[in-house]
């Protein structure tokens, strides 16, 4: 399958995006922000479709909206806690706006499916380059803030007492999340970002209690799930997004060790 250009590009794009999604996702889960990632991708839908309407590449519209959303969320911080109704209404408004923009720009119906459910097999050489550059920048930024980020995540009260600005860290981190989300959308689409960012990270947190091994495992799982998803899509001709979400769910399920639980249940007490 690697004799096809589009397959090679898909594997390369999938690798670049999964590395970022796995690493960023680990901290997302550690900070109890899994849902924020989900929310940011929805906000991006209005941006991407709006960009189509304006004749701009959808990716840049998506990125602009997710980053703006990330900054907003970071600034609001704790005020967002318990506001799931307000967040949910903004989410549906973003999707609604996206539908309107698509309606106004009638010629692109396939664009909507690609945005919502991803189209890793349709990544162009040009967007592959953009994904790689953004991926390197995002990972670099994550490394630079990782030390105070970990401190502020595990121990906000003490970190604040030692002079770490919790709000600055929150905003910087959510901007990084926003870029990672925009990248992940290229692979699995707006609705399925959870599978690539949260699934591997959540499984990694269940499998290892060591922070650095956890980040490494989250990255490895994200990359493997993406590779296997693309390969299975090639073999079965089913969509890669389906396979990636399926593998993400399977790996997360396996982290609960269902076989060991079953075996344990069968043993006499």
């Amino acid at each position: 399958m690697l004799e096809y250009d589009f397959m090679r590009t898909a594997f390369e794009a999938g690798t670049a995006v999964s590395i970022v999604a796995g690493a960023v996702g680990y901290f997302l889960v550690l900070r109890n922000l899994a849902f924020a990632g989900h929310a940011l991708s929805h906000v991006g839908f209005a941006g991407a479709t709006g960009a189509v309407l304006l004749g701009v590449t959808p990716f840049w519209g998506l990125l602009a909206f997710t980053v703006a959303g990330g900054i907003g969320m970071g600034l609001l911080g704790d005020q967002l806690r318990g506001r799931d109704i307000a967040v949910g209404i903004i989410l549906s408004l973003s999707l609604g706006l996206g539908v309107l923009f698509l309606h106004l720009y009638t010629s692109y119906a396939t664009q909507a499916t690609a945005l919502l459910f991803g189209n890793v097999l349709g990544v162009s050489a040009e967007s592959l380059r953009d994904l790689c550059v953004l991926g390197v920048v995002t990972l670099g930024a994550l490394v630079v803030i990782s030390r105070p980020l970990i401190f502020a995540t595990l121990d906000p009260e003490l970190a604040a007492a030692k002079g770490v600005s919790l709000r600055r860290i929150a905003v910087l981190f959510l901007v990084i999340v926003a870029v990672a989300v925009a990248e992940a959308v290229q692979i699995v689409g707006i609705l399925l970002v959870f599978a690539l960012m949260v699934g591997p990270a959540a499984a990694a947190l269940r499998w290892t209690t060591r922070l650095r091994s956890g980040v490494a495992l989250a990255v490895a799982l994200a990359v493997i799930e993406t590779w296997a998803g693309i390969a299975l899509a090639y073999i079965t001709d089913w969509p890669p997004s389906f396979w990636i979400t399926f593998l993400s769910a399977a790996v997360y399920g396996a982290s609960y060790r269902p076989l060991a639980l079953l075996a344990g249940a069968r043993e006499p007490a």
Binding site: I150, L154, D155, E157, L158, G163, T209, R210, L211
Partner: protein, 262 residues
């Protein structure tokens, strides 16, 4: 040399005055229990010593220097979310080592040595390999105490380390703190709701109430006269087999305060 000195210090949170005209001198190497009803200003006082809250008036000196110069070890009261983290304690302790610096979380040999020393000092080397979510309240407090010891501080500020712990864990945590204080020869300020777990182990008592403070030995401070003045209400102090019960005219002050928070 005095570890902490307050010279007619007034503290306020925004427009709200918390403490007024505090004069107190804590000697280096002392173990001080800080008590008082909810909202009396115990945490505020620790924040002022840390340099997080400049005094509204008066002077605070920590080892002869303005607050913020010395970096005391600090154990904050509220620890959000630690108890359901499936992360080992070692990573929690290590996160505080130079945690305010930018860059990757690489500790280097010195940082790892420091973490190992802190864990060993509180006998938590093995505990720190287990996920925080699987530790009991007392065990978690032991790991957090190691975190507060990073940087080998001369002064340790512990905000309500006993809150939410079973009485038997309370006793073991207090004894551990005492042992650490004695071995390292450091000064400890510990805020608490209940006097009894600390009687016999602390050197002196700092009692806060109604904006004022009284510093002295248990026998000097925990009296009907001093407490009635601090609470601005009639208080009785009963002593039973070495334990102390503080009773207000309308009920038991301490138990109420403790239940309220637990």
């Amino acid at each position: 040399m005095s570890a902490v000195e307050f010279r007619s210090v007034a503290l306020a949170r925004g427009p709200r005055p918390i403490l007024s005209r505090i004069d107190a001198r804590i000697q280096a190497g002392e173990f001080i229990g800080v008590f008082g009803p909810n909202g009396a200003g115990k945490t505020t006082l620790l924040h002022a010593i840390l340099g997080l809250l400049p005094p509204a008036s008066g002077t605070i000196r920590v080892f002869g220097k303005p607050p913020g110069t010395e970096r005391p070890g600090y154990l904050p009261q509220k620890r959000s979310g630690i108890s359901d983290l499936r992360l080992r304690g070692w990573d929690l302790v290590a996160s505080a080592y130079e945690g305010h610096r930018w860059g990757p979380p690489l500790l280097g040999a010195r940082g790892r040595g420091e973490v190992a020393w802190a864990l060993e000092t509180v006998d938590a080397t093995e505990l720190a390999e287990r996920p925080l979510s699987e530790l009991s309240g007392g065990e978690r407090q032991r790991v957090l105490l190691a975190q507060a010891l990073l940087g080998k501080p001369r002064l340790l500020l512990l905000d309500e380390p006993l809150i939410g712990l079973d009485p038997r864990y309370q006793q073991s945590v207090v004894e551990l703190i005492k042992q650490v204080q004695r071995t390292l020869g450091i000064t400890v300020l510990l805020t608490a709701h209940e006097l009894n777990p600390l009687i016999g182990l602390m050197d002196r008592v700092l009692y806060l109430g109604h904006g004022h403070a009284a510093l002295g030995t248990t026998d000097e401070v925990i009296t009907s006269e001093v407490l009635s003045r601090l609470y601005d209400a009639p208080i009785e102090v009963l002593r039973l087999n070495g334990r102390v019960v503080v009773v207000a005219a309308h009920g038991e002050v301490e138990t109420e305060a403790h239940r309220h928070d637990a």
